[in-house]
């Protein structure tokens, strides 16, 4: 540190005292830090769907539109339910149930993809039978973000709480997660 620099720091200390630290503390309440200011690079977003996800909120679409990313819509039918049905009913009834669920899933995927396309997103769709928690965590490794509806894998309850499966996914995924 040169003489002029140390002189300015001495004078600064004498003139300002500890006031600068207090000012910085006040500003830190509402200014973004350098880290927060960096918009993470997000190229692909995984969006799991199931029968409990009826729609994507406008707020979620607004946030997602900040990233120029492809959205992978994944409709997952619970493998546990299929297994239980196979044990309780005959194979034909299970297949009938499965076909019905797949039909519902296809409709939801098409409807959601169309809505996202309207907002300028490029989308990919897939549908499979699997575990709604474990499989999302597994697939999320290949994506930069996961967008989860708080009703995903929940039930038809009307309260505003977040589904336990969604909370578990958030605890386990390494990518950023958005709950809408």
């Amino acid at each position: 540190m040169g003489y002029s620099s140390s002189l300015i720091q001495r004078k600064f200390k004498d003139i300002v005292g500890r006031r600068y630290e207090a000012v910085l503390k006040d500003y830190s309440e509402f200014l973004l830090t350098d880290e927060e200011m960096l918009v993470p690079e997000v190229r692909s977003i995984l969006m799991p769907l199931d029968i409990f996800v009826h729609d994507i909120t406008d707020e979620a679409i607004e946030v997602l539109s900040a990233y120029n990313a492809t959205i992978s819509l994944a409709y997952i039918t619970d493998a546990g339910v299929i297994e239980l049905l196979e044990q309780a009913l005959n194979h034909a009834s299970t297949e009938e149930f499965r076909a019905k669920k797949e039909e519902e899933g296809r409709e939801l995927l098409e409807r959601t993809a169309a809505k996202l396309k309207e907002h300028g997103f490029s989308t990919q769709t897939r549908m499979f039978v699997g575990h709604k928690g474990d499989d999302v965590v597994r697939i999320a490794k290949n994506h930069d973000m996961v967008a989860l509806c708080r009703r995903y894998a929940d039930g038809e309850s009307t309260d505003v709480s977040v589904s336990p499966i969604v909370l578990r996914i958030c605890q386990r995924v390494e990518t950023p997660a958005l709950i809408y």
């Binding site: 002189l7 300015i8 001495r10 600064f12 300002v16 600068y20 200011m37």
Partner: protein, 440 residues
Amino acid sequence: METVALIAIAVFLFTYALIIDERIHRAVAAMLGAAIVVFIGIVPWEALLQHVDFGTIFLLLGMMIIVNTARGSGLFEYIAIKTAKLANGSPIRVLILFALVTALVSAFLDNVTTVLLLTPMLLYVARVMKLNPIPFLVTEIFASNIGGAATLIGDPPNIMIASSAGLTFNEFLIHLGPIMAIDMAILIGMMYLIYGRSMKVSPDERKEMVRTLNGLDERAAIVDRALFKKSVAVIAFVVVLFFIHDRIGEILHIVLPFVDPTMGLEPAEVALIGAAILLFWSRQSPEEIFEKIEWPALFFFGGLFVIVGALVETGVIASIASVMVENVSSTGEAMFIVTWFAAIASAIVDNIPLTAAMIPLIHDLGTTMDVYPLWWALALGACLGGNGTAIGASANVVVIGIAEREGIGITFIDFLKVGMLVLFVTVAVGFGMLWMMFVV
């Protein structure tokens, strides 16, 4: 020359050297110098009370109470965010708006607080724009010094001059206000010419900046809405009172006939009245507010007044004045010398001790010439001279100090190159206008 006079000069120069170097706190240096001249009897108790300018000290004290109380409301952060958002993503607009806001706030509140509170926001905006913050920071420094020079309460040299010469708030506004308005326009033009090319941003960057800044909520900066409103109201009231402080009796007499119509209020009284009202109305803890008063600054002023008082008591100031009178033939010539001496000296050393020493000198010149124009010459030189170097004024030190802490180096030489240019242009324009007012 008598021994006591030599001692007074030695103490003054020694203290000055300590203030320049700042290895010892300036307040301690001033108090030490004052202690020496009091201890050896150069300034006896009765004279000490005369030399300490309580008008200056109480004005500073009152304004410090008002500013420190208002600060707790988030008022300054609100102003900073609002200014940043108004710029609408244009770097040039950021430069101009921050310069104007800094100048305006500095004209009514102290420069150090102004830049201390605006600089972090300016750095943030520059970071969002991904632009070099130095042009914005140096412009803020110059704007603060120019804005502060416009009013009686804007800069300590003006406060000292007004208190000693009995000048009013409106006199400052009439004589220095137009000069500083023109100097501000010139400054913005100069900064545009010097830095304009480096302030280009792409449309995408501009969009990103607008998005980030619009994400800031200026209302969130207001931590105490009631205090915010009360602070704004009291500051507005104090400013109005400054405008009418010399004829307050006339106005009060209309509604309160027992008030003497010839009564006027000193600026210090206005500041203390405002401080009392704000403390009473806001119900803020006086202990907390009084703790925030910059006592070292007040003791620094007190010590300086005593040290300069020693030069007066020993006849040093009178001797310098007589030499000046012998060699200066007209008020215009004296104005030229005072303006440029104060400007150049203020760039090199602190303008507060310089002004403290110049005030009694100008009083002594009053026996042989009209010194009224010289007060404006001194105010002009002492305030704008601070723009010359990195250590010329407190605002410079604060902004450059903050920049260094944030990893942005503004070297002494880099600042000097722009600072001296601004100094010479703004002082020359100001001097020209004073010349037209008093000489032509």
